[in-house]
Symmetry: C2
Subunit: 196 residues, 2 copies
Amino acid sequence: MMGPEIERLVGLMARLPGLGPRSARRIVLRLMAEREQRLLPLIAALDAACQRVAVCPTCGGLDSQQPCMICADAAREPLICVVETVADQWALERAAVYRGRYHVLGGLLSAIAGHGPEDLGIDRLVARLDGSVREVILALPATVDGQATAHYLTERLATCGVSVTRLAQGVPVGGSIEILDEGTLALALSARRAAG
Amino acid sequence: MMGPEIERLVGLMARLPGLGPRSARRIVLRLMAEREQRLLPLIAALDAACQRVAVCPTCGGLDSQQPCMICADAAREPLICVVETVADQWALERAAVYRGRYHVLGGLLSAIAGHGPEDLGIDRLVARLDGSVREVILALPATVDGQATAHYLTERLATCGVSVTRLAQGVPVGGSIEILDEGTLALALSARRAAG
Ligand SMILES: [Zn+2]
Ligand SMILES: [Zn+2]
């Protein structure tokens, strides 16, 4: 009895991460009650992101320019930080403790999930190591899959003429990179050690 | 460093009820990662709701037809249930224990918030009492403002030739209608008593 348009909208919202039927209904009612201030701007912003934002073919990040602002920024240091997700990349950027570039794997090696190296764009990472890159920093979660992926990358990059390090301190066991505060990220970066 | 489109989208999402910067970022990343399955359908649904759904001029509910499906449904009983919000109306509809129509106030009388009777469409409610309506059921929250509003409506409707009742049992003190389960709503409806 909500009408088909509202029902469909609530249904789509309720399946977004962290939301459910109740929170989706609250959001939809707020949007409908404040069309000019909330609903129309949200539609325009979703539309703009949909039309203009794409995955950077170099690093796997998201941006409206290709390659992305970070890949295109000549002032970035010749380092590549390997992260699992764009959310992890954003966390490092927010912390403002790292001034190199990134490589977003989009996942981790996982026998259970059936993710192999070909799924993670690791060949693209290797192709970026053209001699100008000084160091690859593995900023992967301290989970079984994260450590397995770090181990695989360390071996794979051993012959690429680049030093491979990993965040060594401050990453809690079982924890993800995304939720770390700025201080912990700074510590983990400065105390990084040779991988392998 | 997220790009202006993403930054704007995350900012708008983060101000929706129940969300914050972190949950907004998660949602935006999921939407961007699943454009076909999530982002495009969500834009289409928001657009459809924005274009077609409006406030029913009779009851204050939301629907794509005017008057709304409930006001237009000849099979509904000649009762009007007065609720504070559309969310409360939806809760009663979901419970499927009531088969009359509604009047959505869109707020409560409040000296502090400065809401008077003219802000709540109470004249529109009185205008609906054309002799065919048998009973007005006040389903208002058991808060100070809710009870003050119920008291005002009871006095206001006393001369309208309609019986005025209120949900009497099961509404927890200080609680809202929206969160009540089906059984409690059924009990509160069946045990309603004369208001005043
Ligand atoms: Zn890039
Ligand atoms: Zn209506």
